[in-house]
């Protein structure tokens, strides 16, 4: 039986600069994998390629049965790329919340417009998620009015509102103080109960090791060990 995520011979270049060199990797459902290594080594690029936010030059991806090849076009192959992204929630390093929408709207715009879930149902689901991260009192607030930690929790539940099978964290601790980092681990712990697969990119060696099922270290040219 194939693994949940299969990366085969993935090669990513920025001009002459080789970032990921022929990388292959299998991840099973429910795993919590930490990718660590110095910044600029290609850890984030791997996550971006995995959701095809970044096209790559060579290789294939298979995520939950969806096949993605190098050179696919975002517009032409939208069906496949959408099927890929529906399984993978993405939490950006700087959150990228939508500043013109309230917290609740940030959570519901994806389910309503992409998954075409009825608005009422999307709102109920979003409120449940907000409650789980202790932000149910902030649903009417705009992102600019939230603290960094609160924004991150909104970013996490925005990804979860799409009911993904895996969630990808890009440097989740980069902009958090120690207190908020502890909160962050609690949030991750909370959603581990759902048997959610998690891929966490970090340059902090100690972060979340306690909950990780696997820790992978990036060496030069994207070689994993």
């Amino acid at each position: 039986m194939p693994s949940f995520i299969e990366i085969r011979n993935l090669t990513k270049r920025y001009g002459d600069h080789l970032v990921l060199d022929n990388l292959s990797l299998d991840i099973e459902e429910g795993e919590i994998v930490i990718f660590q290594g110095p910044s600029g080594i290609g850890k984030s690029t791997l996550l971006r390629c995995l959701t095809y936010l970044e096209p790559f030059q060579k290789g294939t991806l298979q995520v939950g049965g969806v096949q993605i090849r190098a050179g696919m076009d975002e517009e032409r192959d939208h069906a496949a790329i959408l099927a890929l992204r529906e399984q993978l929630g993405y939490v950006f390093q700087f959150f990228n919340l939508f500043p013109h929408l309230t917290v609740l709207e940030n959570l519901t715009i994806g389910p309503i417009k992409v998954l075409e879930i009825p608005e009422e149902q999307a709102r109920d689901e979003a409120r449940r998620l907000l409650k789980r991260v202790g932000l149910d009192h902030k649903e009417g607030a705009y992102p600019a009015a939230l603290s960094g930690g609160q924004q991150q929790r909104v970013a996490i539940v925005r990804a979860l509102a799409m009911q993904p099978r895996a969630i990808l964290f890009d440097e989740p601790t980069a902009s958090l103080d120690p207190e908020m980092k502890r909160e962050m681990i609690q949030v991750i712990d909370e959603f581990r109960k759902d048997r959610l697969t998690m891929l966490i990119v970090t340059h902090e060696p100690d972060f979340a090791k306690r909950i990780a099922t696997r820790v992978m270290t990036f060496g030069s040219q994207g070689r994993l060990s």
Partner: protein
């Protein structure tokens, strides 16, 4: 000695010159400055087709003869026809000689010489169209004429005639040819010059009325007027004037009156002559109608500019290479050429390709398509100013490019776009004054008509400016409050 110097310098100062009889300044400088407009055209005063630097015409010959007679050098001062009288009053020239009809209305402002030419008004229509024999036949039709002329007065005195005033006869007859006008009413010499050689046009009906041209003077120049009257008298009696008119094919039996009638009023058929003095306040409703037209054109052109601007912007940002090049080319060409030229091309140029737009459509298309180029660049800048992470976040949620654009990027760009876009609308609003050149009766055109009829440039100008300001200032306030709100939300 120094007292004499002060007096001398006072004598030569421009302020004093205004009250000085222009004959004295003419004899002092040996130069008689007469003003005319070449756009008014042939056969009066116009550029020689063989050598456009040379100005010719029967009035040029007339003034040469006058100059010879009075031993002064005639110097031509050019200005727009409807501005000639204000130029005279300002002292830019000593005398106006340019088909200026002797009317009671003008006599309130300036003095006239004895008539130097008699003429009738002439209706012209397209070849084979015999509907228009008299003025009454023009009712319910679009009739072109020159702005600020006696012919215009005759037309506007009948409110059932749709009068369309033009700055020059060339465009006027061209629009008649193209069917944008049903008829043209103009002075006989103009109608003969432009219509007879044109196989598609014909003069119809009998000549209307009998009017005369005279030289115009400031009321403070009786001596100059006397000198020119004597000179005209000499030229008439000696047969010199007949010789000049014959070389221009302008001699007619009507001119016999030159020998008998020396009354500077002549005999005049005019709608307004003899009526009550024209009060400038009576033209304020005309200005308000013009203002309504200005608003109408502004709103429709802006709607077009927004629509076409977004299409251009999307084409430039997301189109294939060919679409991008096309949009880029359009934007650069439109921004690199004057709006005035674009309007001329749309209205007078396109008919050469068989595409004929009426004035209103040409005005709205011209303004809208011009401003679309500027709008497109504003929208593009606004969209590019939205952080990259926003579109990535939208895509990571599975949105298509269009969904991301519509739900995420545009609403954010909107706040950046709105203030410069509102400023553009204010600019467009004022630029609508340019469409007056293609005969659209908006506010500036209404002002021009009112002012050249009453010579109350100051009062009517202030009212017009006030109207423009009253319309654009609320927009400025709105734009500024939007900018403040934007800072409040995003910072």
């Amino acid at each position: 000695m120094w007292k004499l110097f002060v007096i001398l310098s006072l004598l030569s100062s421009p302020l004093y010159a205004l009250t000085l009889d222009r004959w004295e300044s003419a004899t002092k400088t040996g130069e008689l400055r007469w003003c005319a407009d070449t756009a008014g055209g042939a056969p009066y005063v116009f550029p020689d087709a063989k050598d456009p630097k040379k100005i010719i015409g029967f009035e040029v010959d007339l003034m040469e003869a006058v100059g010879e007679n009075l031993k002064v050098r005639p110097t031509l001062v050019l200005g727009p026809w409807e501005e000639l009288v204000p130029m005279l009053l300002r002292g830019d020239c000593d005398v106006v000689v340019n088909g200026l009809e002797i009317t009671a209305e003008r006599k309130k402002v300036i003095d006239f010489s004895i008539p130097y030419y008699y003429f009738s008004e002439q209706i012209s229509a397209r070849q084979g169209d015999n509907r228009f024999q008299t003025l009454a036949d023009l009712r319910g039709h679009r009739v072109g004429t020159l702005a600020a002329t006696l012919a215009q007065d005759m037309l506007t005195s009948d409110p059932r005639i749709v009068t369309v005033p033009y700055p020059s006869p060339v465009e006027c007859y061209k629009d008649l040819e193209l069917g944008r006008l049903d008829a043209v009413l103009l002075d006989g010499p103009i109608a003969s010059w432009y219509v007879l050689p044109n196989p598609r046009l014909a003069n119809t009906g009998n000549p209307i009325g009998l009017s005369s041209y005279g030289a115009g003077f400031q009321k403070t120049s009786p001596i100059l007027r006397q000198k020119i009257n004597e000179s005209f008298g000499n030229l008439i009696q000696s047969g010199k004037i007949e010789k000049i008119y014959r070389t221009w094919n302008l001699w007619s039996p009507q001119q016999q009156k030159l020998f008998t009638d020396t009354n500077p009023m002549g005999k005049i058929i005019s709608g307004r002559d003899g009526a009550l003095p024209l009060q400038w306040t009576r033209f304020i409703p005309l200005l308000f109608r013009g203002a309504a037209m200005t608003i109408f054109i502004s709103i429709l052109s802006m709607a077009l500019a927004i629509l076409a601007g977004f299409l251009l912007c999307f084409g430039k940002l997301y189109g294939g290479r060919a679409v991008q090049a096309l949009c880029n080319g359009y934007i650069e060409v439109i921004r690199g050429t004057p709006l005035l030229i674009q309007l001329y091309l749309l209205y007078y140029g396109l008919p050469n390709l068989g595409i004929q737009l009426n004035a209103m459509v040409a005005a709205i298309l011209g303004m809208g398509l011009n401003y679309a180029a500027y709008e497109a660049e504003i929208y593009r800048a606004g969209l590019l100013a939205v952080p990259r992470g926003q579109s990535e976040a939208a895509r990571s949620l599975g949105m298509t490019r269009n969904q991301a654009l519509w739900y995420i990027l545009l609403p954010q760009a909107f706040r950046t776009i709105l203030p410069p876009s509102t400023n553009d609308f204010i600019a467009l609003f004022k630029d609508t004054s340019l469409v007056s050149i293609i005969t659209v009766a908006e506010l500036t055109k209404a002002y021009g008509e009112a002012a050249t009829t009453t010579y109350r440039f100051l009062e009517l100008g202030l009212v017009t400016a006030a109207l423009y300001f009253a319309m654009s200032y609320p927009l400025s306030i709105w734009s500024r409050s939007l900018e403040k709100k934007r800072h409040a939300v995003l910072h």
